[in-house]
């Protein structure tokens, strides 16, 4: 196990190098002079030009530039945003909790519904339960989530009027950030009465509901399909026949003997859905004006805020690399064969 952990950790080094080169190369591959493009042709006094060039790190030999870029990135220094004039990392940390909250909730939503539903479809194979689960998951899997979000808004917000259409919480609340998660911070409002905290909490839940469903739908469908096929495969194994021959009850066979084996490959879904969560978060945040990383990144692309784009690409991909590594390690951990032998 120990050597496997070391090996897996070493494997991320070339990947980290790769994404850092992409983020670093981004500005340098832009056709034309990125400095001019950002300060605009007209306001290009020599001083302003030199300052912008230094700000972007473009005034040194390329290898020095890369070395500086990496050493700054390790210290979480990504320069200053062209638009807001604030350090990029500050902007990032103020927005990240919103994205994390949305991503975590969507993942819980997808996992907590997807796994039981997938198991149900497997044990009721070829019945209407199975057909409806598979049919619904196929539609969910094919859903353009930016449209799905709009349909949810149309129904729940416009038709029923029970959910807000944008933002994280109603305008009248100004919640001081403690954890960054509004579902928690609403309970930590200093000097507020219980009723007020409760109302703020409900407001944040109502704002979170539709984005969670919109973002969670594709992962939910993926998980349900995967759990079903994994469960079906396991239910056909010899050791399930042994469990039956032992005289065990059906629930015990399904929920203990089959499930533990079926969940081993399902652990990898966290890695698999991660990509669709990141892509989905960018779409969902844009759609619901969710003040997170995704919306910020898209805005920075439109406004050509290169330091922000660089930081966004780098931080997001590094997080994906680390989560994938943790998933692989967790997979090895739940699999006794890997845990003991390697």
């Amino acid at each position: 196990m120990f050597s496997f952990v070391i090996k897996r950790m070493l494997m991320i080094l070339p990947t980290l190098f790769g994404v850092s080169v992409i983020a670093f190369g981004l500005i340098r591959l832009v056709p034309g002079d990125p400095v001019l493009m950002m300060i605009g042709e007209r306001g290009a006094s020599p001083e302003a030009y030199a300052q912008m060039k230094a700000n972007l790190g473009l005034d040194k030999p390329i290898l020095v530039q890369y070395g500086k870029f990496v050493s700054h990135a390790i210290q979480l220094d990504f320069g200053t945003s062209i638009i807001s004039r604030r350090p990029v990392i500050e902007e990032f940390t103020s927005r990240f909790p919103a994205t994390l909250e949305l991503g975590l909730f969507s993942s819980f939503f997808a996992i907590l519904i997807g796994i039981p539903v997938g198991i149900l479809a497997a044990i009721r194979r070829n019945t209407w339960v199975d057909y409806s689960v598979m049919g619904a998951s196929l539609i969910g899997y094919s859903m353009p989530i930016f449209w799905w979000g709009l349909i949810l808004i149309l129904f729940f917000s416009i038709h029923l009027g029970i959910t807000p259409v944008s933002g994280r919480i109603a305008m009248e609340y100004d919640i001081p950030s403690v954890t960054g998660f509004l579902l928690i911070d609403t309970w930590l409002i200093p000097g507020a009465a219980f009723a007020e905290k409760w109302q703020a909490f409900v407001s944040s839940v109502r704002h979170l509901a539709l984005p969670t469903i919109a973002l969670g739908t594709i992962p939910l469908a993926t998980i349900a399909r995967m759990t079903r096929s994994s469960m079906l495969e396991v239910l056909g194994e010899d050791y399930i026949r042994t469990a039956k021959a032992k005289g065990l009850s059906r629930p015990r066979i399904v929920w203990i003997h089959a499930l533990k084996n079926a969940l081993v490959p399902v652990v990898t879904i966290i890695g698999l859905i991660l990509g669709s969560i990141v892509t989905g978060a960018i779409l969902t945040e844009t759609l619901f004006s969710w003040p997170g990383i995704g919306k910020w990144l898209i805005q920075s692309v439109t406004s050509r805020d290169y330091p922000v784009i660089q930081a966004g690409i780098l931080i997001t991909s590094v997080m994906i690399i680390f989560v994938n590594m943790l998933v692989d390690l967790a997979y090895a951990w739940v699999n006794p064969r890997m845990r003991i032998k390697t």
């Binding site: 194994e237 050791y239 026949r241 042994t242 021959a245 065990l248 009850s249 003997h257």
Partner: protein, 348 residues
């Protein structure tokens, strides 16, 4: 429901443990209304302390017969027909095929237990030996056992199947055990409920030759000491010669010959049994007359393409027009020796 006979007095010491009559089993196909008959009117009897072998090539219905007894036929199979009478520990006579699943489950492991061909895949890879063995012990125990009690019983059970250092083995996962060791664990699990009948479905096929003999000896010893009925399914006549009291030879879902081990092995009456014996090198060696080893031409017919008449006729050396047209019955030759062949019926 008359599957439970209320009069235990009806039983006599000679009453067999298990009596199968007219057991038939079919599979549904993707075409509507077309079914494939995998078992045709199988009949066999198992007594206490008796080893009954079911012999035949793969695909002839040996394993299906045993799964039908356990009520574990594959999901795409139709409900088996016929009767399977079983004598329980408290001397009730129950008919297994009509028993509801809940009742049947109580019998599994406690009255009839089963071990399988590939011990490596038959143990759950996600749980330790201790978990799987203790689970069986607790399931068949009438009282709730403490963790220490379970552990002690589990160690005793592993010891009884000849596993060295049983306390250490409890912590092992199945993949850490050899094939022979896994099969011993399977036997320990199967015997946890102290069953009256043990069904062993090709228990040594997947094992090394040297291990095979050990497992067979173990089964024989356990059977004798526990006075169990043992149904041993095999394609190996060498195993039959070593183990069997009574032999049923199956071909294409039918029993084609049955009789005591001595009768069937030394006085085979069905051409298929004869052909099987002729293709066996081990028995040839013991005989003084030297004959060529023979193989049986052709293969077991596919269920969807059953031949007319006697199922064996396409591969039979003695076939005539009678065999192509008519279905031979299982006909008694002597007291308990019977064969399904027109030759023994005297029609050839």
């Amino acid at each position: 429901m008359n599957n439970v006979n209320p009069k235990p007095a009806a039983t006599t010491p000679q009453q067999p443990l298990l009596t199968i009559e007219d057991l038939s089993l079919s599979f549904e196909t993707s075409q509507k209304g077309v079914v494939l008959e995998a078992l045709q009117k199988v009949a066999l009897v198992v007594n206490a302390s008796q080893t009954v072998c079911i012999v035949g090539e793969s695909g002839c219905g040996k394993s299906l017969t045993s799964l039908a007894i356990m009520g574990l036929t594959p999901t795409n199979a139709l409900k088996p027909t016929g009767t399977v009478w079983f004598q329980t520990k408290d001397n009730k006579r129950v008919e297994l095929l009509s028993l509801p699943e809940r009742e049947l489950r109580k019998l599994r492991g406690r009255e009839i237990a089963m071990i399988f061909q590939d011990p490596m895949t038959s143990l759950n890879p996600a749980f330790t030996v201790e978990f799987q063995l203790c689970e069986a012990i607790q399931t068949h125990s009438n009282v709730k056992l403490s963790k220490t009690q379970l552990r002690e019983k589990a160690i005793a059970a592993l010891d009884a199947v000849g596993i060295p250092a049983p306390a250490d083995r409890l912590k092992a996962y199945p993949f850490q055990l050899s094939g022979g060791m896994s099969q011993r664990v399977m036997i320990a699990i199967a015997l946890a409920g102290d069953p009256k009948i043990l069904i062993a479905d090709e228990p040594t096929t997947a094992l090394d030759v040297t291990i095979q003999a050990q497992i067979l000896t173990l089964l024989k010893n356990l059977q004798t000491s526990r006075k169990m009925g043992l149904i041993l399914i095999t394609h190996d006549l060498g195993v039959v010669a070593e183990m069997a009291d009574f032999v049923n030879v199956m071909y294409a879902g039918q029993i084609v010959e049955s009789g005591s081990a001595a009768d069937v092995l030394h006085n085979p009456r069905h051409p298929y049994t004869q052909a099987l014996l002729n293709s066996l090198p081990a028995l040839q060696m013991t005989k003084t007359n030297e004959r060529r080893l023979e193989s049986i031409p052709g293969v077991v017919p596919h269920l969807a393409a059953r031949p007319s008449g006697c199922q064996f006729h396409p591969r039979c050396l003695y076939k005539t027009t009678v065999c192509v047209a008519g279905h031979p019955a299982l006909k008694a030759i002597s007291n308990d020796h019977a064969a399904r062949c027109f030759k023994t019926e005297g029609k050839l």
